[in-house]
């Protein structure tokens, strides 16, 4: 596979990019920090089969650069057939409530700009007959909940968009994979209290890789979160108002 990867430098993205590299897939990295990209490219190259891992700047906060970044990837890989997006912003509900500007930025980055990036990627994939678009959303988008009112709203929009893409373009060869991680122990969640069923990035990465290979449209990971969220979605409002989850 020839994969364009936005967000491979950290966390679950790092773990997933490593699995792809180790099994011999070609990678092109996108990210906003040049030095970080260089370091991750070196890591992935050492793990892979010796093929150079190249990279280009791409900031989810700056949508005007999306097209150029994807063109650079397309040129370097001589035509990519998969795009993976694990990048995104995170802040706690308290931080977002206290800072409206931060909330605005998160809503734009995690929803509007991510969708715009996917639109650019989707068009390029469809133009050559299809491919895989794997995007990390979150279980936070499944239901309006107290601890993730704003972050969850952005992720709900993203999940919705990805579901729509899948319905509309699957027949044309576009395989959309919407990943909904539960709580995963990464640098992003370090310092937060881990709930039961917290996952590790390596386990998530293995599940996502299998979903990419199978073209699974929606993946809860760790798997138990599918059941947890099923219950959460069924809970009546008077219960949701009472509980903290």
């Amino acid at each position: 596979m020839k994969v364009v990867f936005l967000g491979a430098t950290r966390g679950m993205g790092r773990a997933l990019a490593r699995l792809l590299a180790e099994r011999g897939d070609s990678l092109f990295l996108l990210g906003r920090d040049e030095e970080e990209l260089v370091r991750s490219a070196a890591d992935l190259q050492a793990r892979g089969r010796g093929e150079a891992v190249r990279h280009a700047a791409c900031d989810l906060g700056a949508p005007e650069g999306f097209a150029a970044a994807l063109d650079a990837a397309d040129a370097a890989l001589a035509g990519f057939d998969a795009v993976v997006v694990t990048a995104g912003m995170f802040a706690t509900q308290d931080q977002l409530e206290a800072d409206v500007a931060l909330a605005h930025r998160l809503l734009v980055v995690d929803f509007a700009n991510t969708v715009v990036f996917c639109e650019h990627a989707r068009k390029r994939l469809l133009a050559r007959g299809g491919g895989t678009l794997c995007v990390f959303s979150s279980v936070a988008g499944d239901r309006g909940r107290k601890p993730v009112v704003l972050y969850g709203a952005a992720k709900a929009g993203l999940s919705h968009y990805l579901e729509g893409l899948d319905h509309k373009f699957r027949a044309d060869g576009l395989r959309t994979v919407c990943v909904k991680p539960g709580f995963v122990r990464t640098g992003m969640t370090a310092g937060l209290k881990a709930p039961p069923f917290a996952g590790e990035p390596e386990g998530v990465a293995r599940a996502v890789l299998a979903a990419i290979d199978r073209g699974t449209p929606e993946l809860y990971t760790p798997g138990i979160w599918a059941h947890v969220m099923r219950v959460i979605r069924w809970l009546p409002r008077f219960v949701m108002r009472k509980i903290k989850f």
């Binding site: 950290r10 790092r14 180790e22 991750s40 070196a42 050492a46 010796g50 640098g187 370090a190």
Partner: protein, 442 residues
């Protein structure tokens, strides 16, 4: 409901209040931090915060390879990159870190800080001998590159310096090419301690890796009986191109109650291991996991010692103390009834260049001691003997040694402290261990 205060412990399960600050971005989180810690595989308090602090940096998310040269085997990586990961990626490609310790669940940063050694110390030296460069965040907040030819004083103080000279951010080391990923090993049943010392010293001349396991409870004529294991990399002809399988691991799911390990059960275990090796000698191909890291096969094996935890006592008895030193050590140990599951004996080669590097030419003895009410007394007694023999203990294992005992064992300590005076006069980088053993401010 009040939340319990989080605790942090070394491998010996002796916790103190504390937590790890984890981040992929080590340069950011080490700024102003009191200590960095890797996989927490040091046994005692080397990786724990001093009493007045609660947070130490955890490096394990900073685990990228930064440069790998498949022609020369030169590796540069972030400090949290583990030996396990290295072996997973590179063993089958024909590369190995010969100064490998007895577990692969260690980070490169931790391997530098403890200047780890393994079954090949007599042949390859400690990890410090294979280092080419380090990048540190030192106490004044700046980032310093050092190596044998650049800031050598800081470099050699950091090798074996228990993380007290600066936060290790990046490590560059030379790995070794191996002819196959399999070990050819020969093992032998040995009847007593004197034969053991002879066998160790003799095989060191021809075998790159050797280690002995001793039944510490046997006394009298049988004292120091055990199994002697030695190995070298198998040739491609010997392996016949057999691919190396992935090792399966079991886990100890919870802390055992403390009565499980007692004199009788340990004796039964030791006797069983000894007679399991019924034929006097065995030879053949071995998986490097089983040869180098037998205990890694059981995850969380430290839980067998229960909630009270355990300590490991490891000392080196120098060649200058004569062949009888190991016997005197075992006599003292058995007379004090220190029941130990594991007692490992190794030959130590030349002293490393690290200012506090543990090993020096002699015999290294390591044993697990479950923590009981009299553990402090037992460690004191053993330390007094080690001082009299001219030996010293391994800080990475220690939780009980008194400062005056360590000072008596290691005349190099003032020189090491002088380097810290230059780079960190206020001792803003310190650990629970450096407070206990080196007299750093709490």
């Amino acid at each position: 409901m009040t939340e319990r205060e989080p605790t942090l412990a070394g491998w010996g399960n002796l916790p103190v209040p504390g937590r790890e600050v984890l981040s992929e971005d080590l340069p950011a989180v080490t700024r102003g931090a009191v200590l960095s810690r890797g996989m927490g595989r040091s046994y005692g308090d080397s990786s724990l915060p001093p009493p007045s602090r609660r947070e130490v940096v955890g490096t394990r998310l900073a685990d990228r390879i930064l440069a790998w040269d498949p022609a020369s085997g030169l590796l540069r990586a972030e400090a949290g990159f583990t030996l396990w990961e290295f072996n997973r990626l590179f063993l089958r490609r024909g590369w190995f870190i010969s100064a490998t310790p007895g577990t692969q669940f260690v980070s490169l940063g931790g391997m530098v800080a403890a200047d780890v050694h393994g079954k090949g110390h007599h042949w390859y030296g400690g990890f410090g001998a294979h280092l080419r460069a380090l990048r540190l965040r030192v106490a004044d907040g700046s980032i310093v590159d050092c190596g044998p030819g650049h800031e050598p004083e800081l470099f050699w103080a950091t090798v074996g310096g228990m993380g007290l000279t600066g936060h290790i951010l990046e490590v560059e080391c030379q790995t070794q090419a191996i002819p196959s990923p399999w070990i050819h090993s020969e093992s032998e049943r040995i009847d007593d301690i004197d034969q053991f010392i002879d066998a160790l010293k003799r095989s060191s001349e021809t075998w790159p890796f050797s280690v002995g396991w001793i039944d510490c409870l046997s006394r009298g004529r049988k004292m120091g009986r055990g199994i002697f294991d030695r190995g070298r990399w198998a040739t491609p002809e010997e392996t016949g191109g057999r691919p190396l399988p992935v090792t399966r691991r079991l886990a100890v799911p919870f802390n055992f109650p403390s009565w499980v390990l007692n004199r009788l059960t340990v004796q039964a275990f030791n006797t069983a291991i000894y007679w399991h090796h019924f034929r006097r000698s065995r030879r053949g191909l071995r998986h490097p996991d089983s040869f180098f890291y037998p205990l890694d096969a059981i995850l969380h094996w430290n839980r067998i010692y229960g909630r009270r935890g355990f300590t490991q006592y490891q000392c080196v008895l120098p060649d200058s103390a004569g062949k009888g030193a190991a016997r005197r050590f075992l006599e003292l140990l058995t007379s004090r009834g220190g029941a130990s599951f594991l007692c490992v004996i190794k030959d130590a080669g030349a002293q490393g260049q690290g200012m506090l590097s543990f090993l020096r030419p002699g015999i290294s003895i390591a044993l697990d001691i479950p923590v009981r009410d009299d553990t402090q007394r037992l460690v004191d007694t053993l330390n007094e003997l080690v001082i009299a023999e001219g030996g010293r203990i391994y800080l990475a294992k220690d939780a009980f040694t008194r400062p005056e005992h360590y000072a008596a064992m290691d005349p190099r300590l003032p020189a090491f402290q002088a380097v810290r005076d230059r780079w960190d006069p206020a001792r803003s980088i310190r650990s629970a261990q450096s407070v206990r053993v080196f007299g750093d401010p709490p």
